[in-house]
């Protein structure tokens, strides 16, 4: 692999790592929002 190949690998690694983190952050956010929604619905439905 020449310099350009390593350069491409370096930038690909950077964007991949950042991308994976951002996607996992988004995934966690959606999951938490769903949990809040579900728990609030359940609590509202519960007898007073």
């Amino acid at each position: 692999m020449d310099g350009i190949g390593f350069l491409f690998a370096g930038f690909a690694a950077f964007w991949l790592a950042l991308g994976i983190y951002v996607v996992s952050l988004g995934w966690r956010q959606v999951s938490l929002l769903r949990q809040v929604e579900r728990l609030e619905r359940e609590l509202e439905r519960a007898p007073q």
Partner: protein, 280 residues
Amino acid sequence: MANEHTLTRPTAGDPQASAEMRDAGALGAEGRPVEGRGPVTRGVAGEGRSSGGRRWNLVVNLLGIVSVVWLLAALYGALIWAPREATMGDIQRIFYFHVPSAWVAMGPAFTVVFVASIAYLITKDLRWDRLAASSAELGVMFTTITLITGPIWARPIWGAYWTWDPRLTTTLVLWFIYVAYLMLRSASASGHKRARLSAVFGIVGYIDVPIVFMSIRWWRTIHPQVIGGQDSGLDPSMQAVLFFSLGAMTLVYIYLLVVRVRQEELSTRVERLRHRFYNR
């Protein structure tokens, strides 16, 4: 039971519920519910439906857009605008993302963990703990990027992906310290006990940051000294791209930190709701 199935906040008069809520950060030291940290308010933490909340959301979204645009501009600067380095050739362009990643991790990210950990121990406010945890996660992410891009750059220049050089070794140790910090957090139940333990770990772990910084001055090393070094000899246009990339990466860190802290607040809210759900 009198308060079974109730949807109201546990009161200071309910000792068991109060202790649990205080531990989750919903009650103040004196046992009164803390404004904005209560468990029953509608909506999502940080996702307020008020005009203030909407304005804050707009600012955060704008910050996200600006950081992405700035990062793309830094990519253009690194790959196209910056001149080709005479000795190393094109591979040197990794430098414009490798150094800023290391800077964000060891500069703002772990320093925020250190400062927020001290602030938590002084104030016992869980918001500091959430800030420290969020910043530690980002610090680990940026250190990971540094530890991946560094060897990729080193292979064609040094002839090896990895050497047990002081700078590389201390950076790897730093990465392990903060991975351990995150593992410690995920292994313990949330609340003041975890926050106290994490704060102590965050303060002690920070000792390695100045060691990483000084390693190239204290010991013999093959790692170049970029900041304040005699041999950095950067061309002004290269310096401009480096500082531009530093700015981009710092902004990305700030944006991700804001998002992550809000997520921690949301997570605390889920825990409170779950606690109420199972204790109806």
